[in-house]
Symmetry: C2
Subunit: 468 residues, 2 copies
Amino acid sequence: MKNKFIATIADALRQCGLADGMTLSFHHHLRNGDHVVNMTMDAVAAMGIKNITVACSSLFPVHEHLVQYIKSGVITGIDTDYMSGPLARAVSEGLLPTPVMFRSHGGRPRAIGEGSLKIDIAVIAAPAVDALGNINGSEGPSACGSLGYAMPDAKHARHVVAVTDHLVRGGLGRVSIPHDQVDHVVVVDKIGDPAGIVSGSISLTRDPVALAIARSAQAVIRASGLLKDGFNYQTGAGGASLAASIFLQEDMRAMKLHGGFLLGGITRYMVEMLDEGLFDNVYDVQCFDLSSVQSIARNPRHVEISADTYANPASKSACVDYLDAALLGATEVDLNFNVNVTTDSNGNIIGGSGGHNDAAAGAKLTIIVAPLVRARLPIVVDKCTTLTTRGETVDVLVTERGIAVNPARKDLADRLRDARLPVCDIAELHETAMKMTGKPLPFEHGDKVVGTVEYRDGTIVDRIYATK
Amino acid sequence: MKNKFIATIADALRQCGLADGMTLSFHHHLRNGDHVVNMTMDAVAAMGIKNITVACSSLFPVHEHLVQYIKSGVITGIDTDYMSGPLARAVSEGLLPTPVMFRSHGGRPRAIGEGSLKIDIAVIAAPAVDALGNINGSEGPSACGSLGYAMPDAKHARHVVAVTDHLVRGGLGRVSIPHDQVDHVVVVDKIGDPAGIVSGSISLTRDPVALAIARSAQAVIRASGLLKDGFNYQTGAGGASLAASIFLQEDMRAMKLHGGFLLGGITRYMVEMLDEGLFDNVYDVQCFDLSSVQSIARNPRHVEISADTYANPASKSACVDYLDAALLGATEVDLNFNVNVTTDSNGNIIGGSGGHNDAAAGAKLTIIVAPLVRARLPIVVDKCTTLTTRGETVDVLVTERGIAVNPARKDLADRLRDARLPVCDIAELHETAMKMTGKPLPFEHGDKVVGTVEYRDGTIVDRIYATK
């Protein structure tokens, strides 16, 4: 049998037949501590290759390193679910010759599975690899826990290269990606910087506005009638979202409830609820902190899932389909409850859907939590600068000045009023915001299209233009 | 979201659009205790459907029940890796209108993955299912352990129906097949008979011939130079194979060796070696007894693997590729070291490759263990009645009367001679056998082709004719 172990990333890419115009894919579980995208593109550039599309499930400030390769023509395309930092700024300024394809965390595996995103070489940052080439994410100095977003790539890419800094002599017990999907293994000094991979501990916000919003959001869940045994829940890692977990925990204890699963990017607040027995399972497509990395390695009820299982709308079912409630953030919410988490109100790329529109589409109750005003800009707007999540999938907007319910959910508005929650019209919230900030100057965008926004089902729903 | 839970198998098949001419697939982990193949075909027959191909990874005496459906035209095709019992006899007698396609355990997932075996509906006997539709094999009254052979079906079939007798309220921790691959779940009283699913305990042979062969086989492994730290090993569940595990265990203890993995159908002898720390891992595509079912549920180093990971020759690597030694049985071995485990010497279908030709192709050292004579018939023959495993992948034949080494492995013959093992020419073994049995009467077969034998890579290597 051929030896899978190759001395350098360049040698491995050569063995995969790297050529101009190919698509290389990466996952983002090492987050802002990732070295592998940058190292790989260094090797690609040194080989004199041009015109590469980088398909990475998310890109962070650490990937500023890639700006030089856009300038030199090595990278001419980007396909991602989220991007922030200097690379995103450079794209907003029009540096990349083609528009970035923005997908959701469920849309990406859908595109990979159906073949509309064809991956020539998947390069997998692999925290632990054994002698056969089995990979897991939960051992070694760069442990990141779940490798859920890398699984569709490993399954479908023509060639798969694992890059690791932790070669295990005995076989791995936990296997995230089995060796039959791995062509080559490259051992390097360091695949990432632990400080950037996971936060040692994510601490709760003390911002009184965020805490007030979190408390209201949990009151909405309580009043919705959905909070009962078997409750399935997803929340983000933003300030109000995390704080809401604490209030949920208190309610579940008081009501003696036993939930089903916790979903999404996982933090210690979810791990604590699992350990306390408040929920049966954590389904983990991505770990956000050290507690969750340790938990996935030790607790069999903390289940690693692929992006297909998490949110792919072409799957026979996805975890998001089973959500009772999802609590999500927003950069903008408009009068039709559409949400933007892709750009700011000046059209600068500052994120992307990630799992936002997937969770919203799946959950019985989708709650958007946001302050009415942020950095002197209104969050509730006439029309979103960029469409990330369709208003028809959003049920409630919770702000510190009131709770707006989607008019399509009259039943829910009635329930919230019965619970004496401060329900108001979203237009009122918009007016209040405008009174606080004044009408913001309309921003003018440039002519160049720098991003295409694909909804999770494959529909193109928006374009992002260069800033001026 | 649509409700996955359907009242009856017939309703589920209807929802999948069951129609004449379709291929239904099944797995064989419930072995001779399986109820699901029979129940499903009862439903198909009751619906008046005809011309179905049953693609089941193996078929056992319990599947005699299907003979009536061949007679009535409900079943007109069979695709399998192994079949024994009355159904196999009926096929040998020419009952089925089309030849059975015989594949190997690695060739089957290759065919499914490449699309040459297209599955319309995969019906999965599921020992435990949770509210989302996640499946595992290690819980519930019909626990069978690994579901490795069902995994390629679930991944590639157009429709997937799980049939269970154990619906779990809380989510499963161990997941063999994730819910995103499952369309429908049907709950029935019993999916199988535990007594037929796993042997409570497989006990060692006391047959002195088998023990002598086992001891010689282990002497060959010792002399081969392959028995060192990291040793990877597969053996079958036949008498001599199991006994050889005990001698291996003794050698490893005495030599203070630490092995890599144990592979294949798993028994308590392998579990004991894992628990004792003699090996790092058990890779389990199928459990043969209760000990292995319990072990896979409790020990994270006992890893459930898919048939793709086990033996698919189209995979980027398969576990069989990493084998140092494989110890396999034979119905016939011919002068070119070709092996037959598909038919007896009279052309009756009595088995099939299963993982035989996969393990032989992968292992550095493939040892065939067989008595020289069985039921007054010679095992070493001029030419195999049916070709299952190519002689070029077989290194050694161990019998109670001597050890024959494939002439292509002169290095190995030298090592065995140096170790004073009784190496002889395979022709000598053939002559000895003939002296014991007399020259067997040549058997005459009928005209009808009742089976096509596909080698693991997709090559058609033999045909099986009806008996006369």
